[in-house]
């Protein structure tokens, strides 16, 4: 399945590896931050709802 990369195999593979690593890392970091703030915001909203008894306007 692997294509014949010839004498440049190391270069091509490392280029792809670097790219994919960086992109995946960025994606994972972004998703983790997203999940974290979503959870934190939900907690804050819940605490606020409990205190005021008022219905929260949003559920973002």
């Amino acid at each position: 399945m692997m294509p014949e990369l010839g004498k440049y195999a190391a270069e091509v593979l490392s280029a792809y590896a670097v790219t994919i690593t960086l992109m995946v890392a960025l994606l994972l970091i972004s998703l983790r931050q997203s999940a974290r703030t979503r959870r934190a915001l939900r907690d804050v909203e819940a605490a606020r709802k409990n205190r005021s008894g008022k219905e929260s306007a949003t559920d973002v």
């Binding site: 990369l5 091509v12 790219t19 960086l22 931050q33 703030t37 915001l41 804050v44 306007a57």
Partner: protein
């Protein structure tokens, strides 16, 4: 969203955080699927099913990541410039946050372009790095990204941060163009000319063209996807801060 919003009457209304959250939440899955598809098709096609170039051998396969990442890196800065202008002129908070969200993505893309370019340069030019204007201006662009992100991180008040980083982005753009010309003057380069121009004569040959287009679409999609995710994070963080501040005052 728990309740319906009235139909938007102008594009600017998406600058309302609630509308933005609704729309972006709706779009996210489609963008994600589209991006994944384009990236998979482009990369697999490019990596496995294209022939080697007669001059460059298999290294030509690097083009599928190098060129898209370079293009996204530049255009991310342009997008930040536009978003900064929108914030300064029309004061739409979401655009300021989108600019903030774009910076790390742009910086990563710059890094990818630099890394893949360097890896490509070794077999092609016999050196990892040359002080070629295009390469060098990319390095400078990377510095601009770093400074911009550091400024965002250093300022506590969010609105102040938005304004100051916008000013930096605008002034920085002018200086980025200036350094580009300075660099061209300073040193003649080694780097390839434009290869995707509309002028058919100069285009890369068709075998490489189509997978490259898919990859381009994939990288742009990846950029949009991350902007959406990260801007949503920023919007939420911002709202949380406002709520906490309100609670502290109450």
């Amino acid at each position: 969203m728990s309740e319906r919003l009235p139909k938007p009457t102008s594009l600017w209304e998406y600058a309302n955080p609630r509308r933005f959250m609704a729309l972006s939440g709706f779009l996210l899955p489609f963008v994600a699927v589209g991006t994944a598809a384009a990236l998979l098709i482009g990369l697999i096609w490019g990596f496995f099913f294209t022939p080697d170039d007669y001059r460059q051998g298999s290294t030509v396969k690097i083009i599928y990541i190098h060129v898209p990442s370079a293009m996204v890196a530049i255009n991310a800065w342009l997008m930040m410039l536009v978003a900064s202008l929108i914030w300064l002129i029309r004061r739409h908070h979401v655009s300021a946050l989108a600019a903030k969200a774009a910076a790390p993505v742009g910086a990563t893309m710059t890094l990818i372009a630099l890394a893949t370019g360097a890896i490509w340069g070794q077999p092609m030019w016999g050196t990892w790095w040359a002080w070629d204007p295009r390469l060098t201006s990319f390095l400078v662009l990377f510095l601009f990204y770093l400074g911009y992100m550091a400024l965002w991180a250093a300022i506590e008040n969010d609105d102040t941060a938005a304004e100051l980083t916008s000013v930096l982005c605008i002034v920085g753009s002018v200086f980025a163009v200036l350094s580009r010309y300075a660099l061209v003057f300073w040193n003649q380069g080694l780097h390839q000319g434009a290869s995707l121009s509309l002028d058919k004569e100069e285009n890369v040959s068709d075998v490489f063209y189509w997978p490259l287009l898919f990859c381009l679409a994939g990288f742009v999609g990846f950029f949009i996807l991350l902007i959406l995710v990260r801007t949503r994070t920023e919007v939420r963080a911002r709202r949380m801060k406002a709520l906490q501040a309100r609670e502290r005052m109450a």
